[in-house]
Every structure is written in C-alpha cells, then in structure tokens.
Symmetry: C2
Subunit: 219 residues, 2 copies
DNA sequence: CGGTCTCTCGAACAACGATCCGGTGGAGGT
DNA sequence: ACCTCCACCGGATCGTTGTTCGAGAGACCG
C-alpha cells in the first residue's frame, strides 16, 4: 500500500507513452541485441510492470514494427540535389542507419509501412520520376535500389556486426580446412580481404544507377 | 510396456537421423511457416518424442541452419555455359528457390556456411574470375549480385507470400487513405501494379551484369 | 460526494527450448 | 545361452517467454 510506488513522481521519469516505449526498445536493442528484447526486460528499464506495456501497445511485434520505423527518422531526405546525387545520399544514409542498428537487418522481412519508411520511399519514387525514369524502368529502379540496400545491409550486419570474433574465426578456419573443395571462394571470398565493404557497395550502387540513367536517354 | 511403440517397425518409417529431421523440418516450414516450427511439433510429425531430437541435433538453431542449407540443393549449377548466361541461370534459380520456401527469406540474417551454399558461392566467384573480372570489381560483383538476390527475395516473400490477403488489403487501404501524404508512392508504388516482379528483377539484374561486363574490357 | 475514464500491475496460463536421468533394444563378444 | 555395452529414446521437469484477466489507483467531471 504505502510501499507501492504508484505515483508518477515516485516511479521517476516522464509518464509512460508509446513513444517512450519505442525509444527504450531501440536503446535496448542497440545495447543487447534482438534476442534480449523481452517485454519484462523492457518494462524493467522503463520502471514499470511488464503487463503495463500492453495498454500502450498491442503485441511485442508492434514494438518491433515501431522500433524499426523509428530508426529511419535518422535517414535524411536530400533537398534540391540533382537526382543521382540525391539518391546516392539517401541510399548511403539508409545503409548507414541499418548498420548502426544491426538488429534491424533481421527485421526487414516484415511489412514496412511506418511513416518514416513511407516518406523515404516516396522520395525515392518522386526523384526517379522527376529524373525522367518511366515505367517499366521506374518500378525496376525503385525495387532494385531498395533491394540492393536491404541485401547489402543484411549480409554486412550478419558478418561484421552480429557475429562475434569467435564465430568469425571459426568461419575462417572452416573455410581454410576446405580450401580444396571451394578453391575460388577460398582465394577471393569475403573472408580473405573483407575490409572494402564500403567501396564494394558504392561500386554496385553505381552499376545500378548507370543502368537507370541509361534508360532516361533512350526512353 | 506392451502398449509402448518402441521398435522401429511399430513407430513406422526409417530410423531417425539428422537427414530425416531436416527433411521433415523443411516440409513443416513449407506447410505451416516459420513460427509454427516447434521441436515438439517436429518430433510429433516424425513419430518420436520431442527430446529425442536433441540426440541428433544440438539446438533448434541447428535445425534451421540445416534446413536453410538443404533447400539450396535445388539450385542447379550450370555447366559449360557462357559466363553471363551461367550467372543469370544460377541467380534465377537462387531466387526461385528462396521464393518457393518463403520462410527462408527471414533466415538469411544468419551465417550461411553449409556445403550447398558454399558450392554455389564458389561457382559464382569462379565464373566471375574466368570471365576476366578482377579486383576490386570481383568482390563488388559477387557481393552485389548476392545482395541483390537476397534483397529481392526478402521483399518479395514479405509481400507476395508471407502476407495474407487480409494484410495486403489493409496495406492498400492504408496507402489509399494517405494518398496526399505520399503522392509518388501512391501513384507508382509497389501496391499499384505489382505483378511484374519477375521482369523488374530481370531488369535490375541486367543493370548489374552490364556494369560487371563493362569492367572486363576496361580492366 | 459519486461516477467514469485512463492507466497500472500482480497473478496466472499455455507454450516454448532445453536438460536430466532412467530406460530399451539389439549387436557383438565369450 | 548369457552378459555387456552403447547408440538411441522419452517422460518429467525447469526456467523463460508472450499474453490475458481482473482488481485496483488516480484524475477529472457532474
């Protein structure tokens, strides 16, 4: 009764809200990873009971959807830039954001319909249209660019961020032990000289943009 | 005692083995989806107790890793084809396989080091090398192509296969209701004329391959 | 003061991954 | 024929998870 911390001042911090839950969820995911996100742990960090969260949020999946959309607020939408420079900036920011929150890569397999994602997708389509890209190249360009970022971030997060050094070393040894079975992979594979992810990404992105640009002239 | 079905003939089917577990896991995943895969349910389909599985397999994650690699056995490795035709065939098969087992897309965020995946990656590198692609274009090409397939399959599986009709309709209505907020997306977005995923994929793939091909001549 | 609405939380439930430990059956030796 | 051994099996059980239920506490309105 008198021991219970029931008033807001006693619990400390601002009142609970959907936004505060999502902010803390992102922080928890950043610090401990996806598998450590528990409704109980999240509630504990917020100083409340675990079941209280369900008043502000319907399910745990909702928390994940909201957290996933929240991080895309950091992706700046370029203004006034030429189309190719604008898209390069947007997609670079997109990739950097996904890598800054490595847990996000594993969540990309769910529908992304949050306002932040939609606004950036809208910019992508609008920029392509203004650049003169028409169907059927338009859909192919938007899909291709999005999928390229998603795939890159997914693979990069898998190997560079999520995997601990122990896993990476085991993988390297695993490959070394089967060097004769996968010769090309052992000689040129990603585990040999893997520190140029950035320039590899940039190269692939430019190939795509070159292809898109070529469709503008020819129609 | 006498009621217990303890001999192999009474339990029916061949003796339990790692391979049989993986086969049944793939079948279960195909029929019911990723979240329905339970050690108990899997054991039930195999006619054994759930704890028996742990004799053949260390953890549930191992089952997932094995199932993920198993489906790549269906990706044919082209022989004797010209490099660009060979890569087009391999990547097309790759994408088709991922889409035939939609649960696989969500699992791509884990290290893929199984023999089937490694053999196909080796073919990818070997083909690029034989075509005359050298560093730094080689890594960029291998990464770019892989990431493009992965991203495409992930997004496509999310929207076309995993999402039920109800979710898709809700998404369409959601977009329709905010038509003024995302004008370009509403006019040209993926939910408007979404039935050309195949040709969009082919277009994007050709942009990438064009870029790779251009690096061969110039070095 | 009474009533209603918003918000909080302890207790509880079903399901899950995983482990412990006691089996069971058949192959191989003697 | 008997024993031993060991690959293989599974019932009971533990700790944890997402989620529900119902009982409240506090604020605001009449």
């Amino acid at each position: 009764m008198w021991l219970r911390a029931s008033t807001r001042e006693e619990r400390g911090g601002p009142p609970l809200s959907r936004q505060r839950i999502v902010e803390e969820a992102v922080a928890l995911l950043d610090e401990e990873g996806a598998d450590r996100l528990t409704m109980r742990r999240l509630a504990e960090r917020l100083g409340t009971g675990s079941t209280t969260l369900y008043w502000h949020v319907k399910t745990k999946d909702d928390v994940l959807d909201l957290a996933l959309d929240a991080i895309f607020a950091a992706v700046r939408i370029p203004e006034g830039a030429e189309w190719r420079a604008g898209l390069t900036a947007l997609i670079g920011d997109w990739r950097a954001t996904l890598l800054r929150h490595p847990w996000s890569a594993a969540l990309l397999g769910r529908p992304m319909l949050g306002p932040n994602v939609l606004a950036r997708s809208d910019f992508l389509y609008a920029t392509l249209v203004r650049a003169g890209v028409a169907e059927p190249h338009l859909t192919a360009a938007a899909f291709g660019l999005s999928n390229f970022v998603i795939g890159s971030a997914l693979m990069e997060a898998t190997w560079l961020v999520n995997a601990d050094a122990e896993t990476r070393d085991a993988a390297r040894e695993h490959m070394d032990h089967q060097r004769d079975r996968y010769p090309a992979l052992a000689a040129h594979g990603p585990l040999t000289a893997a520190d140029d992810w950035d320039s590899s990404f940039e190269r692939g992105l430019n190939w795509l943009l070159d292809g898109v640009e070529a469709t503008i002239a020819t129609g």
